[in-house]
């Protein structure tokens, strides 16, 4: 029984990683194929490499994890999978979709999410013409590195300030989602400075930020719902991962 369980867990973890592959980042956020000048593409790609190497090592370590750790990894992956497929209407009258990377970043740290994220981005660029191969580096940096790092940092900060877990998860996921769009705006502004970098930055932020705010909050709420369930049922694993402290 134990063996069968272990096998199932392994295959679920592997499967979910595979399932991230055809993920389709729809409309907003990702910089479209061919829309960044070549030097920018190369530079963003180079910036991502150390994070990805670090993430690969971290991922291997988690796959050897005890108990329900692997199934938590599968859950984090599938969470990104669902959220990235949902194009949600916003108060501005246009649509965007959440990133879903905050929850995984809270559980496993930001570098593991860089691996999950780039797999999603790569296949979506190949199969669905969303994002792109030339802009892969820039998109990986915004969605799979910058966003998760901010989520992770905010979660740790909130825990240090003794905030309740729910609030910490909500703020981490929401702000991480928003920050992804801020980075995208900055990347576009660097490539297309209108009357200077800041004028462009404000222009692109003006497009992304108001649309994204309520959607980011929705992602925050959903992350809290899932986290509440995990907190009740996986105390041992969450403690081992360093997400929550041991009960005194």
């Amino acid at each position: 029984m134990f063996l069968a369980n272990k096998k199932t867990k392994l295959s679920v973890a592997a499967l979910s990683t595979l399932l991230l592959l055809p993920a389709t980042y729809a409309s907003a956020m990702h910089i479209m194929e061919g829309y960044l000048p070549l030097p920018h593409c190369v530079a963003w790609g180079a910036v991502c490499i150390p994070f990805l190497i670090f993430g690969g090592i971290g991922m291997q370590k988690q796959m050897r994890g005890e108990g329900k750790v692997k199934i938590l990894l599968a859950l984090s992956g599938a969470f990104v999978f669902i959220l990235s497929s949902l194009k949600i209407p916003s108060v501005t009258g246009s649509c965007s979709h959440p990133t879903g990377t905050g929850l995984g970043a809270i559980l496993f740290g930001p570098s593991v999410m860089s691996i999950l994220g780039i797999i999603v981005l790569l296949f979506q660029a190949l199969l669905l013409a969303h994002g792109g191969l030339t802009t892969l580096g820039a998109n990986t940096f915004s969605m799979a590195i910058a966003g998760p790092f901010v989520s992770f940092g905010i979660f740790k900060l909130m825990k240090k300030l003794k905030a309740p877990s729910g609030l910490a998860v909500f703020l981490a996921a929401t702000i991480g989602d928003l920050f992804t769009y801020c980075v995208t705006s900055a990347q576009l502004a660097l490539a297309f400075p209108d009357q200077g970098f800041f004028a462009s930055l404000i222009k692109f932020m003006g497009i992304f930020a108001p649309t994204q705010l309520p959607i980011a909050m929705a992602e925050g709420l959903l992350s809290v719902i899932i986290f509440n369930i995990l907190e009740k049922n996986c105390r041992t694993e969450l403690t081992a991962l360093g997400v929550i402290k041991k009960e005194a």
Partner: protein, 96 residues
């Protein structure tokens, strides 16, 4: 507060956030915000031409939505399975 009550309240809030724009901005097009970014780029630099094309594009919006549905369905299936595993009573007994 019981967990399911807390989560139900959160879920209702979640639905409200998504439903409000649909109810009160009924006349909007609800297009993607990346399209708007494309427009902004062509405003800044009229002559900019994307220098690379995607290898494959879904042939129609129906096919595209098919991909999206498959993606959500698979993701939801795995999340359901994982949550079931995590919360199962049997698992807890085995551990004890």
């Amino acid at each position: 507060m019981k967990l399911w009550i807390k989560n139900t309240i959160l879920a209702v809030l979640l639905v409200l956030i998504i439903a409000v724009p649909l109810l009160f901005k009924g006349g909007s097009e609800f297009g993607g915000s990346d399209g708007e970014a494309e427009e902004a780029i062509s405003e800044i630099d009229e002559n900019y031409e994307p220098w690379f094309e995607s290898f494959y594009e879904p042939p129609s919006s129906e096919i595209e939505s098919l991909f999206f549905c498959i993606q959500s369905a698979i993701g939801a299936g795995i999340v359901g399975f994982a949550l079931g595993r995590i919360t199962s009573k049997k698992n807890k007994e085995e551990k004890a």
